[in-house]
């Protein structure tokens, strides 16, 4: 007596393809596209999807979570400074207080629960998907151009694969140090890009949250992209600002979406 149901290869293939294409077709026109599935992108996505906005996260890696799996120097405990432990509470992440105002938890614990919360809220993901360019329309960002990540890793003459475009009312650049979307605007002379200053944990976290915002009509910078865009100091292996910056990016995106006429709220 077999343990598993009798299902053939073709049914499995069709299930994978159907589900993937359902997402792709539905989210080719999203309310918000977030570039990067690190802590700030996941947090922004979770918040926006909770507010019933159609939210898609594109991630170039196979895995979701970015640097949130590891605290620093290949050691996995991740830390946050107060008041970011309230997000741990909200996500039901167990943690311990290690010093006054400093909290720690294993990265896999925090990261998996944040991913889970984003999925539960309704965020859709396209992983192994590399940001290629922005869609610009009427002097505002109106979507992203993406391609399969492996395409960029192969010689151009054997991978002449055109990208595709996904439309969105708001794009959030949560791509970390790469700041891919902000850099694209800089290439065109549309925004100035300052680059990151040396590490200064005590000060950089406040500044990142304070500077989170719309850097160009339709484009919001969150997390380490903020650091790069405004030339703020690096923050080192602590994640409170990433989470709070993601939350603030979501609040700003929600406000902007409400300002845009005909916003599609599910």
């Amino acid at each position: 007596m077999p343990i598993f149901a009798k299902v053939g290869e073709k049914e499995i293939t069709r299930a994978i393809a159907d589900m993937f294409h359902e997402t792709l077709i539905d989210y080719a026109d999203a309310d918000v596209i977030i570039i990067g599935a690190g802590p700030s992108g996941l947090m922004a996505g979770k918040e926006l999807a909770s507010m019933k906005f159609k939210t898609l996260i594109v991630e170039q890696n196979n895995y979701i979570g970015g640097g949130f799996w590891v605290g620093g120097y290949m050691m996995n405990p991740v830390t946050v400074r107060a008041p970011a432990q309230k997000i741990f509470d909200e996500l039901k992440i167990q943690y311990k207080q290690v010093a006054d105002g400093l909290y720690a938890t294993p990265g896999p614990n925090a990261c998996s629960k944040l991913i889970s919360a984003a999925c539960d809220a309704g965020v859709k993901f396209l992983n192994l998907t590399k940001f290629d360019d922005l869609v610009l329309r009427d002097k505002r960002v109106a979507g992203v151009v993406v391609n399969w990540m492996p395409v960029s890793a192969l010689p151009r003459n054997i991978t002449c694969v055109d990208p595709v475009a996904l439309e969105a009312k708001i794009v959030i650049d949560a791509s970390g140090h790469d700041s891919v979307a902000v850099k694209r605007l800089m290439d065109r002379g549309l925004v100035k890009f300052a680059g990151m200053n040396p590490m200064w944990v005590e000060q950089s976290e406040d500044l990142v949250v304070e500077h989170t915002g719309e850097v160009f009509p339709g484009l919001i910078a969150a997390g380490m992209s903020v650091t790069e865009t405004f030339g703020l100091p690096r923050m080192g292996p602590t994640f409170g600002a990433m989470l709070l910056s993601g939350k603030r990016a979501a609040e700003i995106a929600a406000m902007k979406l409400k300002e845009i006429a005909h916003v599609k709220v599910r």
């Binding site: 010093a99 590490m199 719309e214």
Partner: protein, 266 residues
Amino acid sequence: MIKFRQVHLYSEPSSSTLDIDEVASYVKNMLGCDVDVREEFFTYFLTPDKIDYIANKIVATKVFDPRKPFTKHEPTPIEIEFEKKVLTNPMKRYLGILYDGFELQTIFDELIPSEENNLEHIHIAFTNRLVCTHSENDSRYHYRAIICGYPTLICTSGIVEAPAKPKEFYFLQQYYASMGNMNLDEVKKKFEGRFIDYDDSRLTEVVKGYVTQGLFYYITGEPFCTKKQCRLLNAHWQEDLIESQVNNGNLCQDHLKILNDFKTII
């Protein structure tokens, strides 16, 4: 030798241990001239209609690459909003952003009304912004605790960051960081007393020294002295700063004589 009649000191409310009235008494006893204490500089002079204009100008003085001479930064709306928040909330200390000290000084100068904008009135303003100036000697920016000139700017964060802490402090900090330990308080604790920290109980005494240097700039054209026993020592190390300002706190014989000569003419 400039014969000034009145010294105006402006408070710095984010530094809880700075007793500006005590500094004023010290200056009055030292020079015998009129000294008054005013609110924080921008609170005192900045009118609501000028906040946007001044915030814009301050953002333009930001320094992003310490290895390059000053180039005017083009402000973005998020930076201007942030700067407005700093201007209207002098109780809060935001660090991590560098400003060109001489460029910043011209903004302070612009706000001083014409009836007081002359060398009979010496203005000594404090800021908690991190200021730096570009040195032609090594072609890079350096943090500064004082910007002599009109008006004199004393940077309370520069007092902490500009003179170097003991070398071993940085070695230990680097070691801790390499181990993923970003808790700077632990490192600070090991060197307690050997440097001036934020809200240090010795801050008022140290500020008296910097104010004296700012005033000597007007008296002789040279704010500094090379003698370690003189309050006019331009301390490059925190331990020298503590020695000259806290442990000693006096002028050398040469500068004492200059001061006495000055007092006979005002």
